[in-house]
């Protein structure tokens, strides 16, 4: 029997829908994938699966929202807060180690611009932001095994909001690319969550 694309299946399974609803949707998708593989070939069937996965995402998310209780919301808030703190600590530790290594090597001035708000190369800003976001999303997904994608998305949303508020409060002249960072953060955290979901794909079966 044709196996569904692992990443797409893990993504759908990670949206926090109730197990009964989730399994029914995934089982039907898998069954139709097998039929379409016989009729249309593997590539067309897999394309259909990806398209159908995207179309079914809002319904799985709606089922998650439908089943939300106060304790689920507080748990999600806890996961977001913990992963935010966790990720910040890791980022600070890496920076401190990098600074001390560079300082020992006599290259400390090379990192001084990292502490400046202006003049940081655009590509580096986005690269560091993306890495941190992927890491944060992965941690959020790891802490919320039932709905890693949702947890990662929630972290991305909160993180972006905090970033926008901080920019508005601190900066007098904001470089235009700063407003792209929330998007980078959301995409990064979602990627981290998806990576975590993919790693645990076998668990829900």
């Amino acid at each position: 029997m044709t196996q569904p694309p692992r990443l797409a299946e893990a993504f759908l399974a990670s949206l926090g829908a109730q197990p009964e609803f989730r399994d029914a949707v995934l089982d039907d998708l898998a069954e139709e994938l097998a039929l379409r593989t016989q009729w249309d070939g593997v590539r067309a069937a897999r394309r259909w699966y990806y398209r159908e996965a995207i179309r079914s995402t809002p319904y799985l998310l709606r089922d998650w929202v439908r089943g939300l209780r106060l304790r689920d919301v507080s748990r999600l808030a806890g996961v977001v807060l913990t992963s935010y703190v966790f990720m910040t600590m890791i980022a600070l530790t890496v920076l401190t180690i990098a600074r001390s290594v560079m300082g020992t090597a006599g290259l400390s001035t090379g990192l001084q611009w990292l502490g400046q708000r202006h003049g940081i190369p655009l590509a580096l800003t986005f690269a560091l932001g993306s890495c941190a976001a992927v890491l944060g999303g992965y941690i959020a997904g790891w802490l919320h095994a039932r709905a890693p994608i949702v947890a990662a998305l929630a972290l991305g949303a909160v993180w972006s909001l905090v970033g926008l508020v901080a920019i508005a409060a601190v900066e007098s002249t904001v470089p235009p690319h700063a407003y792209l960072m929330p998007l980078v953060v959301v995409i990064g955290t979602m990627t981290g969550g998806a990576l975590r979901a993919r790693g645990t794909a076998a668990h829900w079966r």
């Binding site: 029914a24 949707v25 089982d27 069954e31 079914s56 319904y59 709606r62 089922d63």
Partner: protein
Amino acid sequence: MKTPSLGALELTVLLAVARLGEEAYGLAIRRDVSARTERDYSVGAVYATLQRLEDKGFLRSRTTDPLPVRGGRARRLFEPTAAGRRALREAQRVATSVWAGVGRPIRPEPI
């Protein structure tokens, strides 16, 4: 107590379940609905509707044993409840009443 109302897709899905009988599971229902309405509904949309109908008390479901084939999966079969059958009869009565007196087929508006 007032009977919950039926939306257009809910009515179509409930009719498909009634029509399919023992074969009323997600994939078959989706095919039936898509073929009859000539619209490609997503798997999620059909299950969301089935769930709404179950919440309204018009459907009940049970899960079968996994199918006796390699990689066979369990199926969730649906059937209309007594309230569901009543709702179908009522919908049919209302539709018949609304259509009464329309003698000729309705033609499309001239462009």
